[in-house]
Amino acid sequence: MKKKALKQDPAGPVWTFFCSVRLTVVVLLALAFTSIIGTLIPQNGGDVFYLQKYGQGWSKVFMALDIDDMYHSWWFLTLLAMLAVNIVVCSIQRLRVTWKIIFPKKIVFRPDRFRRLKDRETFAASVDNGEIVDRFQGFLKRRVGKVTRQTLEGSTVLFAEKGRWTRIGVYVVHSSILLLLVGSVIGGVWGFKGRVSIPEGDTTDVIELRQGVHEHLTLDFAIRCNTFDVSFYDTGAPNEFKSNVTLIENGVEVLTTDIVVNHPLRYKGISFYQSNYGIAAAKSISLTMTSKESGLAFQQDIEFNKAITLPENQGSFVMEHFVKGYNFQGHNLGESFVGKVTAPDGTESEIVIPVKFPTFDKMRRGTFAFAVDHFEKLYYTGLQVNRDPGVWFVYSGFILMIIGCWITFFMSHQSYCVEIKDLGKNKVMVDVSATSNRNPQSLKLKTAKLALAMKELKS
C-alpha cells in the first residue's frame, strides 16, 4: 500500500529520492567524512607545495579533485546543494501531514488511545466533598490548558493538552539551515574579501582581493594609516595591535578612528579588521663598523641610499634597503639591512646585516665588519577588508536555529487524560495518563507529580 502511494505521487521518482531520511543521513555523513580531508591536507597551498609534499601522483589527484580548495570544490558544493534540496523536499512532504496535526479543524480525543498506555497513575478517592470531576477539571485547566470533558458509560473523561505548536520546531531548524546556505551564497557572489597593507603616513584606495591572483579593487574612498602601535605585556606577549586611520572621501576627511583586533571599522558596508603588521622601513639607523686591521670600532648615523666614506681609506658604503626576513642558506635571519661596499679599487660587494645577529658580518672577513646598533622602525599595518551582504541572512539563520533547536528538543506536545470511574458508594477510581511526542521519561515523572497533586487536592 505504501508503494502504491509513492507511485501516485505526482512529482515522481526524483521527489521520492529527495524526500528520504536515508538520503539525509548519507549526505550528512558524506559531508562529515569529506570535511576531514580538508583538515588533514593543508588548503590553498599552491601547486608547488603539493608537488613537494605529496609527489607528482598525489598532487595530480589533488588538482583533479580540487582537494587544494576542497570546501569550494564542485563535489563539496554539490553535497551542500543536495542537502538543501533534501531539506526542502523532506520538509514540504512532512509538513503536509503535520500541518493538520498542528492546526486541526477540530480536536478529537480518543480515550482508548490513553487506556492502552502502559505508564499510568491510579488512585482511589471518595466523592464526599462536592463535585470531584469539576475540581479536577479546574485543576487540569490551570496546570495544562483547555479541558474537554466526555461522559462515557460509568466514567467521566477529562482531556487537556499543550504545546501542539511545538511540532513546528523542526521546520524552524530546517529553514535556519537554508538561511545559512543562502547567506553564504549571497556573501560569496556579492561580497569580497581583500587585504591592504598601508605604511604609516600613507594613503590608499586600492585593496588586493583574495580570490584570484593579484586582483585589485578600487574603493569609493581612501584610507590613511596615521600611526600603528603594538604594545607588549611584561612577559613579551603582544597585548594590543592598534592602527589609527583616517577615511578620506572626495578629498574630505570623513572619519578618524582606531582599529584594534576585535574592534573593526565598518564604513558603507565595508569592514576593516586589524589582521597583521610589519616593518615597512627603518629610519635613524646607527651603524657600527669594526676594522679588521686595527680592531677599532667606528660608529655613524646613516640614512638609506646616502653613501658614506669608510674610515682608513677603505672605500665607501651605502645602505640600500631593509628586508623583513633574509634567507641565508635556507635559514631565515629575520629583519636585516642590505647595503653595498665599494672598495678603493672599485669592486662592489653586497652585504647583509641581520639585526638579530650583530656578529654575522664578521664571517665575511671583509675589511670592515658591519653591525646595526639601533634604528627606528616605520610600521605598516595589515588590514583585512571585507564586504559580506549575506551576513544578516546567516545571523538570522543562527537565531532561528537556536530557537528551533530549543523548541524541538525541550518542548513537546503533551496530552493528558484523566478518567474518573464511578465505583459506587461515593467511591471513584482516578486514572491519570499522558502521551507526548518526545521525552517519555520526563513525561512519566510529570504525570506522577500531577497525579500526586490531584490526590492531595481531593482531601
Binding site: 543521513v25 550528512l28 562529515a32 583538515t39 551576513v391 546567516v394 543562527f398 533547536c405 528538543f409
Partner: protein, 276 residues
C-alpha cells in the same frame, strides 16, 4: 592557597567520588552512592572555588581575564561543566547509580590538567584576538555541549555493559533499566547538541567581529562541524528512523570520539585554536 593547589585537592575529591560510585555498583551498597553524590558536590564546590580564585588571581597579576584561555584552564572548566550537568541529571531523574561511568570522566579531565607535566598551570596574559567578551560566551556554551556529550558517552557505555536480561541481585542489576539509560543518553545528546550549536554560533559571530569571516574552515571549526553532523545524523536516526538502544549507544560513542578529536586532536593540526 592558590588555585592550582585548590584544584589539585579537588582532583582527589573527584577521584574519591568516582571510587564511591564504582564501589556502590560492585558491592551493591546503596549508601556508597549516596555518599558519592555528597563527595561529588564537595568536589564541585572546590572546582567552582578554584575557577573563581583563578579569575581573581589573574586580575591580581594585572592580566584580568576569565580563566578559559589555555589547556589547563579549559580542562578544569570541562570537569566543572560535566560535574554540574551530572549533578543536575542525578537530581532530576532520581537515579543514584548512573554516575558510575560519568564521574570517572570528571576525575580524568581534571587529573589530566593537574598531573600531566605537559600542561602548564601558569596564568598567562590574553593575546589580542582572545580579548573579547565573546570568549566567555563561546567557551561556556561549547563546554556545556561537550559536557552533554560526555555524560551521554558515560550512559552509552553503561547501556552496552548492561546485559539485556539480568537476574535480581546479579552483578549488573543495580544499573537502571535499559529503556531509562537509552532515554537519558538521548536527552544528554539533545542538550549537548543545542549547546554545541550555540557554541559554534557564538564562535562564528566572534570570528566575524575579529577577522571578518564567520567561517574559515579552520581545523577546529571544521571538526566541530563534523561533530555536529555526526550528532545531527544520530538525532535523525533516532527521531525519524526509530533507532534506539545499542545502535544509538554506538553512534553516541562515535560522536564522543569526534568531540575528543575536536578538543585534543586538533591541537596537532595547524590552526587558530591550537593551545600552544
Amino acid at each position: 592557597m592558590n588555585s592550582p593547589m585548590l584544584l589539585s585537592i579537588t582532583t582527589f575529591v573527584y577521584a574519591f567520588a568516582s571510587v564511591l560510585y564504582i564501589g556502590s555498583w560492585t558491592f551493591k551498597k546503596k549508601f556508597l552512592s549516596t555518599l558519592g553524590i555528597g563527595v561529588l558536590i564537595t568536589g564541585f564546590l572546590g572546582n567552582t572555588a578554584g575557577i573563581l580564585l583563578r579569575w581573581i588571581e589573574s586580575y591580581q597579576m594585572g592580566y584580568g581575564h576569565a580563566p578559559f584561555s589555555n589547556m589547563y584552564e579549559s580542562l578544569v572548566f570541562f570537569s566543572w561543566t560535566v560535574a554540574a550537568l551530572y549533578i543536575f541529571v542525578e537530581f532530576k531523574y532520581r537515579e543514584r547509580i548512573i554516575g558510575v561511568f560519568a564521574t570517572p570522566l570528571i576525575f580524568l579531565a581534571i587529573a589530566y590538567a593537574s598531573l600531566s607535566p605537559n600542561i602548564a598551570d601558569k596564568i598567562t596574559p590574553l593575546i589580542p584576538a582572545l580579548k573579547s567578551n565573546w570568549l566567555i560566551a563561546h567557551v561556556i556554551t561549547c563546554f556545556l555541549g561537550y559536557a552533554g556529550f560526555a555524560v551521554a558517552f558515560g550512559f552509552s557505555i553503561m547501556y552496552l555493559v548492561k546485559p539485556e536480561n539480568t537476574q535480581e541481585g546479579a552483578f549488573l542489576s543495580k544499573l537502571p533499566a535499559l529503556a531509562v539509560i537509552d532515554e537519558l543518553t538521548y536527552q544528554m545528546v539533545m542538550f549537548g547538541f543545542l549547546f554545541l550549536t550555540i557554541g559554534i554560533i557564538t564562535g562564528a559571530v566572534w570570528a566575524n567581529s575579529a577577522w571578518g569571516t564567520y567561517w574559515s574552515w579552520d581545523p577546529k571549526e571544521t571538526w566541530s562541524l563534523i561533530t555536529w553532523l555526526i550528532y545531527a545524523v544520530m538525532l535523525h536516526l533516532r527521531m525519524m528512523r526509530g533507532w534506539n538502544g545499542k545502535q544509538i549507544a554506538w553512534v553516541s560513542i562515535l560522536g564522543f570520539m569526534a568531540v575528543l578529536f575536536t578538543y585534543f586532536g586538533v591541537n596537532l593540526l595547524p590552526g587558530l585554536h591550537s593551545y600552544a
